[in-house]
Symmetry: C2
Subunit: 349 residues, 2 copies
């Protein structure tokens, strides 16, 4: 089937580009001896996770326990969940998962660590725990090396847990000094830090400059998006995800309406102007969205589309687009090769 | 099961409130003789659509052909799709749908109308077509009464179509004058306007003041959200959708992190500050989101939550939250009564 026969809106994934993106980052990280542990939140597709592993990734990263279960069911056996997992329901599921794959999680509080220990020791399993620390994103993470060291000591002391190192997101200039200071504090207790996991796509090509990070978690790199291009980490030619839409209305000379809106692209502006980059009309601006309509200003375009014309959009943020579609279409050039269900979509818990 | 036993994040729907919301709008529209045609894009759940019909709605509104197919499969036989439907694949599905239910669609261009006519006449079915016109939202819709009249004449003239009136979104002060002028133009051709369909939740209680609109399409009213409350159309006590989340991290004295972010609430700010209203901590602000984390500022709260505590969020925009979850949980008070799959979720085409 030709790509032009697909009904719209549809997410197409250029398989050649996905393969090239996977290979490029792997080669780079291999060159510098950095372990590659891609984050599957971007694609949520076991088949792509397996491509990443086959290329040399040491394991994968998930953000939700439910995502990890889907990936484990698909045969993937080395998973890091970069999340504070808590509550009886999730802890029970976690111990079941830990009994069948190599599982690591992260924690930034005594509450999380004690919950993990109680559940794992009761179930007779061991789970690796990494201490999450703050590197500037102001999300989760302990704030000081002293807190990191205290939490590492607790993990070492409690049953059912294995201290697996430190984790942060994204890796920044603050990462190295934080790790060094934590290492010094833990050396007094003869506790070594087995690995330091950093992450992020925008600055992935700087990973070799952060000497303390031994592992890198990138997610978006596999597809790329407008934000990644704006940051300079990828080119539009490398971006593998596109959303094909149709111009369903031209109510005024300058305005065009697409059959995709916030339920197609999400509302993530990601700091950019407009809601995507239109390949056929690079001077057009998707200046607003309704749920099922994209509102486009074509006034700066020399040629303007007709009603019924198909236009191709590179979204601002690819991860949230994956999360809106039940399936994506894999293509090579203009030929449809496969359809992948977004299997871990909706695994919200 | 008690609501407190549900794992998080989870969308709960207060069934008493849904029933009250459905009844309240129905009673109001009945009082003024306005046909009620609720928009199911908010809930995407056939069971709720049936509740709306049972209460007195004349039919339902869908935004996507795929949504209408799901609703028709569930036995709903009177559907308006407020969208320009085009392209061979969709037009073929449309004629199949028109052969089994009472179907109406909208159009704002000759291109759309001719496509509908060609498909319907070839398939030997008749589809009702309403002309969509601009009432100030600057999305789709013809811009002038002259354009509306010309399109109505074309619909009347072409085979396979039935001219079913005018449609706009949302109803505003511009609606009445536009309709009157179009009616005058069409009277010369002995074409009457069988109905005028307006819509919107924020100004639904003004529907009786727009004399020309004979039908009202509201979607959000069934659940309500922070935006609807901000507009004054509903109170927080009436809002039926809540998202229960857990505080998974308290990295600093003022910051808390929830286990729900842009993949839970969407990024729709809807003109409001912050990403939701927290029932237990009304002075807290969800000032930022990552995909799976909500970043909360608790500095203005006298009491602050502990890690592991559950907090309840009323989202800014309920329709886009429904679109992120595979299922919602129906409750009465604190008792879980049922689980509804969001059946029309993902019906993107």
């Amino acid at each position: 089937m030709n790509i032009n026969e697909l009904d719209t809106p549809v997410v197409v994934i250029d398989l050649d580009k996905v393969e090239a993106n996977i290979k490029k980052l792997q080669v780079y990280l291999d060159k510098y001896g950095i372990a590659n542990r891609p984050h599957i939140k971007t694609h949520k597709i076991p088949e792509i996770a397996r491509m990443q592993l086959k290329a040399g990734a040491k394991g994968i990263t998930c953000q939700k326990l439910g995502e990890a279960e889907v990936m484990a069911d698909a045969g993937i056996d080395d998973i890091l969940i970069t999340y504070n997992i808590m509550g009886n329901a999730k802890l029970q599921r976690l111990t079941q998962l830990a009994s069948r794959i190599k599982l690591r999680v992260t924690a930034d509080s005594e509450f999380t660590v004690r919950g993990l220990s109680d559940a794992c020791s009761a179930a007779g399993v061991e789970t690796g725990v990494m201490v999450e620390f703050e590197s500037g994103t102001q999300r989760c993470g302990v704030q000081t090396p002293a807190e990191a060291a205290a939490l590492a000591r607790l993990i070492v002391a409690l049953p059912g847990l294995r201290f697996d190192g430190l984790m942060t997101y994204p890796t920044t200039e603050k990462t190295g000094p934080f790790v060094k200071e934590t290492r010094t504090l833990l050396a007094a207790d003869n506790i070594s830090i087995p690995r330091v996991s950093g992450g992020g796509t925008p600055r992935m090509w700087e990973a070799h400059t952060w000497k303390e990070a031994t592992e890198h978690r990138a997610g978006t790199y596999v597809y790329g998006d407008r934000r990644t291009v704006a940051y300079g980490a990828m080119t539009y030619e490398e971006v593998a995800m596109r959303v094909i839409t149709t111009v369903v209305s031209r109510p005024t000379p300058d305005r065009g309406i697409l059959d995709g809106g916030s339920k197609t692209f999400s509302s993530d502006l990601s700091g950019l102007e407009g809601h995507g980059y239109m390949l056929e009309y690079p001077d057009a601006t998707i200046y607003a969205q309704s749920e099922e309509h994209g509102h486009v200003d074509f006034s700066r375009c020399r040629n303007q589309p007709q009603i019924g014309e198909r236009v191709t959009v590179i979204p601002n943020h690819t991860c949230v687009v994956s999360n809106l579609f039940n399936q994506v279409v894999g293509v090579r050039g203009n030929t449809v090769e496969l359809i992948w269900p977004v299997s871990a979509r909706g695994a919200v818990q």
